[in-house]
């Protein structure tokens, strides 16, 4: 029988598995041929895979905010915006040279491929205008920065103070100290060449910067640009990981088998995975490239289990084919269960309606599922055909033997097993509590993808210190009829909302129709500030804004505030950062105000801008992260329940999984990373990263206890020293592979995720080798101790009768 411990009654499932494996074994050649054909086909599909990023992939399309955003972005522009700041160290920007540089920066950003030219703005842009009323009432609109920048100090001084006194410019395009100017450039949201964007931005910076002038650039396209910039490094690090895994396998197995077979399996699985990506026409995004690597690492993990078991059996039986078949039959059920758990754990991420995560869930789950064919089936078959190893002695490092013996003793000791249980209970308690309260969204200003001293984060801080804020929340105004946005009752409510939202500390300023109208009204009255009020009639307001629009050389100047018929508009709030708490309070304030201040004839609708889209993302992550974690646990629980027909087995595995998996939540919480679109898949996948360790150990205990004559403790110790070794091999190999990222990566995200993965590998290793044995030693579950004792004294390691004849 394939899996049922010796002497135990075979169930239907066991008989099916046994029959299936017998057929498989008889047709191994055919299987390998089919595998080769399939791999070739997937290889062809893999050649179509492209790696690119698109902003739209980050937006949960089903979320109401994104639906509103999609509806209005063609009119009011998107949220994929670069914010660049030119800053001088000495003096201010009001010199001819510096102002020309601001113009150059604006023009150059405008020329980058993918820029939405309607979303470019700066003090040098023609659409940013000043209004002046001349004696006699003549109203003139002129660009804030003249076409011919003056060199006369008096004219420059006048220019400076005009800008300072212009609410449209001050604090939004010119800093309060006059040392910095801000340029905005919105980008399209479809596929962009972020590498080129990064190159162009770097070029522009190098052309403008000198000893006294610095250019700071932030915003999603710039961030993506940096990620792409480091993508080359990412491949170097991945290669380094491969080398480290390679070396670890050599050290452990000291045979070509032990090194080549797992790598062959991993290579085949990678081809399948990439082929699936290509077949569906998905793109790989460098932001989450670590996940496919992690999935591939799991294949190495499964393969190492197989090799280890193969050599273990070979040492006893001295029969290569028998050892290979035993390896297949003994590990088939835990292997398949583990692989399906892996795949299911990734597939559940599809509960998120974020395209990036959905796509990852679809291709990642298949990528993981491919292990059933590429590893679980293929490895034993390959081993049966490979040349017989010259030496069949199973190499066991002395230190590992000592370590595992000690671990086995501690895990089963009458007191120490209780200590382990208490420690596990405490971990689960605090871990689950942390998981429940783990902050959603960014926890620091800037991006956690990059180190705090990275140019991008320095830029983000500089921009937010000097200006109202680079992160916009857009609340859309949807009127029932044209011209309604000019109505005084609408504008008055906007003013109330403006004040309420600006109470938040992180809120820097607003851009909305109320401020524009009152500012224009003042300007039409020779700058007398007492006229900073909304006219009592919409026709006067309309006249004010019409002159503003009509006097500009390009149309659409008012699109920053309203559409051309004053029916739909936008209310923009600038925030200093995009931290989870900031976003939550901004949205909560907006919701509260909207609920308490309905406007006759106008609906307020959330939300656009980077804050709005991030809020949608965070809310979606908040919902899907918990659902995904729950579903991962449920998937494993169900699979174990089905595999072993035991609630106790399922519960023990689940508890061990939770105890190990919560480490990821504790980590992101402790490190101040928070759950965001980047860390979500890692924490979700990390929940089950070592489920195979646990399953292999549980299954082995189930096999070893009957072999030990029903001696539970002896069976557990035997498991820890055998399967425990394979688990240790796997875990340490993977840790050796990922830990260099921490030291090599310029991307903070990769570095921290590597550390997280290393921690998760350790916690799953600990969970599998201490918690599972301790729980089984205490509980003495029926699925382990309730089996008939095996009476095969001479060959305690032979779980199976001779394999089926080879074909």
């Amino acid at each position: 029988m394939a899996h049922t411990p010796p002497g135990q009654q075979k169930g239907f499932a066991d008989r099916v598995i046994e029959a299936y494996l017998a057929v498989l074994w008889r047709h191994r050649i055919a299987y390998l041929v089919a595998l080769a054909i399939a791999t070739a086909m997937w290889g062809y599909q893999a050649s179509k895979v492209e790696m690119y990023s698109q902003f739209a992939d980050l937006l949960p399309q089903g979320h109401s905010y994104i639906q509103a955003y999609n509806q209005h972005r063609s009119t009011f522009g998107g949220a994929n915006i670069v914010t660049a700041v030119l800053q001088v160290e000495e003096g201010d920007i009001f010199t001819q040279g510096n102002l020309e540089k601001v113009r150059y920066l604006t023009d150059q950003l405008d020329q980058i491929n993918g820029v939405d030219h309607n979303q470019v703005a700066s003090l040098s842009h023609v659409k940013i205008r000043n209004i002046k009323t001349l004696p006699g009432g003549m109203v003139r609109s002129y660009p804030v920065l003249p076409v011919d920048v003056p060199d006369d100090p008096h004219e420059l001084s006048a220019l400076k103070f005009e800008m300072f006194n212009n609410d449209i410019v001050m604090n939004k395009y010119v800093s309060e100290d006059g040392k910095a100017a801000l340029v905005l450039a919105g980008f399209n949201e479809d596929r962009l060449d972020y590498r080129e964007i990064q190159r162009e931005i770097t070029r522009i910076r190098s052309e403008i910067e000198d000893e006294n002038t610095k250019v700071y650039v932030a915003g999603e396209p710039a961030l993506k640009g940096w990620v792409w910039f480091f993508t080359g490094e990412l491949f170097m690090i991945f290669s380094f990981t491969g080398i480290m895994v390679f070396l670890a396998l050599i050290i452990y197995f000291r045979r070509a088998y032990g090194v080549l077979v797992p790598l062959i399996g991993a290579a085949i699985q990678t081809v399948w995975g990439l082929g699936w990506v290509g077949w569906w026409g998905f793109n790989l995004d460098p932001l989450i490239l670590v996940i496919p690597l992690l999935i591939t690492a799991r294949s190495v993990s499964h393969a190492v289990q197989m090799i280890e078991r193969y050599f273990e059996e070979l040492e006893v039986s001295q029969d290569q084919e028998k050892a290979a078949f035993t390896c297949l039959s003994d590990l088939f059920l835990p292997g398949v269960t583990g692989v399906i758990s892996d795949a299911g754990g990734i597939l559940v991420l599809s509960v998120a309606t974020i395209p990036l995560i959905e796509k990852l869930a679809y291709y990642g789950s298949f990528w993981a599922f491919a292990n059933i064919f590429c590893i679980t089936h293929t490895m034993p078959i390959l081993l049966s055909y490979f040349p017989t190893p010259k030496t069949t002695e199973h190499f066991i490092p002395r230190w590992m033997e000592v370590t595992l013996t000690t671990v086995g003793n501690v895990a089963t000791g009458p007191i120490s097993r209780w200590v382990i249980m208490v420690a596990a209970a405490v971990t689960i308690f605090f871990g689950v509590r942390t998981a429940i309260t783990v902050p959603i969204g960014e926890q620091e200003a800037g991006s956690p993808l990059l180190w705090q001293d990275a140019h991008y984060n320095v830029s983000a801080r500089t921009i937010n210190e000097r200006f109202a804020g680079a992160n916009q929340l857009v609340i859309y105004l949807e009127g029932e009829r044209e011209h309604i946005l000019k109505e005084p009752h609408v504008l008055d409510t906007l003013e109330e909302m403006r004040r309420y939202l600006l109470e938040q500390v992180e809120a820097g300023d607003t851009r909305e129709l109320y401020t524009l109208a009152r500012n224009l009204n003042r300007r039409y009255h020779y700058g007398d500030p007492r006229w900073q009020v909304i006219p009592p009639d919409r026709s006067i307001t309309g006249n004010l804004i019409f002159v503003y629009e009509a006097s500009a050389p390009i149309s659409g100047v008012i699109l920053e505030y309203t559409d051309m018929v004053y029916q739909n508009g936008q209310f923009v709030v600038f925030y200093k950062d995009v931290k989870g708490d900031t976003v939550r309070e901004a949205i909560a304030r907006a919701k509260k105000f909207m609920a308490e201040h309905p406007i006759e004839g106008v609906s307020l609708r959330l939300a656009g801008g980077f804050i709005g889209t991030t809020a949608a993302l965070n809310e979606e992550i908040d919902r899907s992260e918990k659902q995904a974690a729950m579903l991962v646990i449920m998937t494993v629980y169900t699979l174990v329940l089905l595999s072993y027909g035991s609630l106790i087995a399922a519960t023990l595995v689940m508890l061990a999984l939770v105890a190990a998996g919560v480490a990821s939540y504790m980590y992101v919480s402790f490190m101040g990373i928070g759950i965001n679109i980047n860390s979500l898949p890692v924490t979700a996948v990390g929940m089950g990263i070592g489920v195979d360790y646990i399953l292999y150990v549980v299954d082995r205990i189930r096999l070893e206890v009957p072999r030990a004559g029903g001696d539970l403790i002896a069976g557990i110790k035997k498991t820890v020293s055998t399967t425990g070794m394979a688990v240790t091999f796997t875990a340490t190999t993977m840790i050796a592979g990922v830990i260099p990222w921490y030291f090599l990566s310029s991307l903070r995200f990769s570095a921290e995720m590597a550390l997280l993965l290393a921690i998760l590998l350790v916690t799953h290793w600990l969970s599998a080798l201490t918690m599972i044995p301790a729980m089984i030693a205490i509980v003495k579950p029926k699925f382990v101790v309730g089996q008939p004792v095996q009476v095969e004294e001479e060959q305690p390691m032979m779980a199976e009768p001779s394999p089926q004849p080879t074909s």
Binding site: T133, P135, G136, G137, M138, F161, E162, F164, N165, M170, E176, G178, V432, I436, T437, P439, I440, E495, E496, R499, Y500, L502, E503, H525, Y526, G527, D528, P529, R530, Q532, V533, P536, D537, I540, G580, R584, E585, I587, A588, R589, K591, K592, E596, E619, D622, R623, K626, Q627, A629, M630, M634, L647, I648, A650, T651, M654, L655, V779, K782, G786
Partner: protein, 411 residues
């Protein structure tokens, strides 16, 4: 026994699952709800007053321990302790306060946006909103504001002016008001405070006067001036019942900038300057003979003959001057303030700009007011700007925004 243990474990397993499901489902969006709960605990959403960023439209200094600044959103701050301490006074209105005036530390009056007239008799602890139910022209298409207020020689006589030729007068310290709003012809030559058509003997045909009056100054209970758009300078000698226009202005440059050549003016599309084109803003008389008028483009007009002749004098700036303060005696200087951080003071022979203030105040300065000793003064302006001087305006110190912010206890 084993069966019992098995049952217990199975039950425990299901309970763990159920508890996990319940806990996780219960905490979905918990963080959002927590924020919302905290906001709800703070009360209903409404636009708050931020003293550190409100626009201040007027300052009035009685002495070093009693000064007030008034601004947007009904904000009035009581300034004490030589300008070091600030306390927000509850006015009960949400409208901007444009001008404020105190006869004593207790008796004050404030006027503002949308016809707001407030009166206090206890130093500002309580403000009474004075209802003004006057037929002040057609306010459906204009702004029913009171931009300026002035007391006469005693505390009882008060005038306030605003758009659409609005003039109101109180002769009982602000308790009751009468309408003296203007009627005029289209060329702004003839003015009256009631419709001449009501007088069967009058041949004048006037309309409600659609002219914005920006400033008012009454050095006595009968002699007063108002200023406004279209170069309007009106004088009354009977407490505001009749008004005569003064337009004898000398020394006006051909263009707002004297150095501008005709060619350059045409190139820049700058029209020639006429008195009728000027937007005049403030007026202040130190006595019934001497006074100033300010306006756009740095216009500063001076008279020493009760306005029979006005002379345009260099203010040192081409920025719009929002206010002028004529010192009542010789122990202090005359001051003018304006947009773009403009503050100018009259020395013995000319007006000079305060360059230090201009460099540091990046917004408009609405007004400056001084105590009777001429040393302690407060100036105020946009975006929470409050400047304090202790040396008669030779140097000004900006008030810490945090101190202003703290003045509103609800923040």
């Amino acid at each position: 026994m084993k069966r019992q243990m098995y049952l217990v474990w199975r039950q425990a397993a299901w309970r763990v699952l159920a508890a996990a499901l319940f806990t996780l489902s219960a905490c979905v969006e918990a963080a959002d709800e927590e924020v919302l709960r905290e906001l709800n605990e703070m009360g209903a959403s409404k636009g708050n007053v931020f003293p550190d960023r409100e626009d201040f439209y007027d300052a009035f200094v009685l002495d070093a321990n009693n000064a007030w600044v008034a601004g947007g959103r009904g904000l009035i701050l009581h300034v004490t302790n030589n300008g070091q301490d600030f306390a927000m006074l509850e006015t009960g209105v949400q409208k901007a306060i444009y001008e404020i005036d105190f006869a004593t530390a207790q008796d004050g009056i404030a006027v503002g946006q949308d016809g707001v007239v407030l009166k206090t008799s206890d130093g500002g602890k309580a403000w009474n909103k004075i209802p003004i139910e006057l037929p002040l022209q057609d306010w459906q298409v204009a702004q029913p504001h009171y931009f300026a207020v002035s007391r006469g020689a005693d505390a009882q006589h008060i005038w306030a002016v605003g758009p659409v030729g609005a003039i109101i007068r109180s002769q009982d310290g602000g308790q009751t008001w009468e309408n003296l709003s203007l009627w005029c012809n289209l060329s702004f030559d003839n003015f009256a405070t009631s419709d001449p058509a009501d007088d069967p003997e009058s041949t004048l045909r006037l309309n409600p006067c659609d002219v914005t009056l920006n400033g008012v100054s009454f050095p006595t209970n009968t002699d007063g001036w108002v200023t406004g758009e279209f170069g309007i300078i009106l004088r009354t000698q009977d407490g505001g019942v009749t008004w005569q226009r003064q337009r004898n202005v000398h020394n006006l440059p051909k263009y707002t900038r004297p150095e501008l050549s005709e060619e350059e003016a045409i190139r820049q599309r700058i029209p020639p300057l006429y008195i009728e084109d000027l937007f005049l803003i403030d007026v202040d008389f130190r006595n019934a003979q001497e006074g100033y008028v300010t306006g756009e483009s740095g216009t500063l007009l001076q008279t020493t003959d009760a306005g029979e002749t006005w002379t345009n004098i260099p203010s040192g700036s081409f920025n719009t001057l929002l206010s002028v303060t004529a010192a009542p005696d010789n122990n202090r200087n005359d001051f003018a303030t304006g947009v773009l951080g403009t503050m100018a003071s009259a020395t013995s022979d000319a007006w000079q700009l305060d360059d230090d203030v201009r460099q540091h105040v990046l917004t408009w300065i609405r007004t400056a007011s001084f105590a009777a000793d001429g040393q302690f003064g407060v100036a105020c302006g946009g975006k929470g700007t409050v400047l304090v001087t202790a040396d008669g305006g030779k140097s000004w110190a900006a008030t810490d925004k945090a101190k202003l912010y703290a003045a509103n206890p609800s923040l």
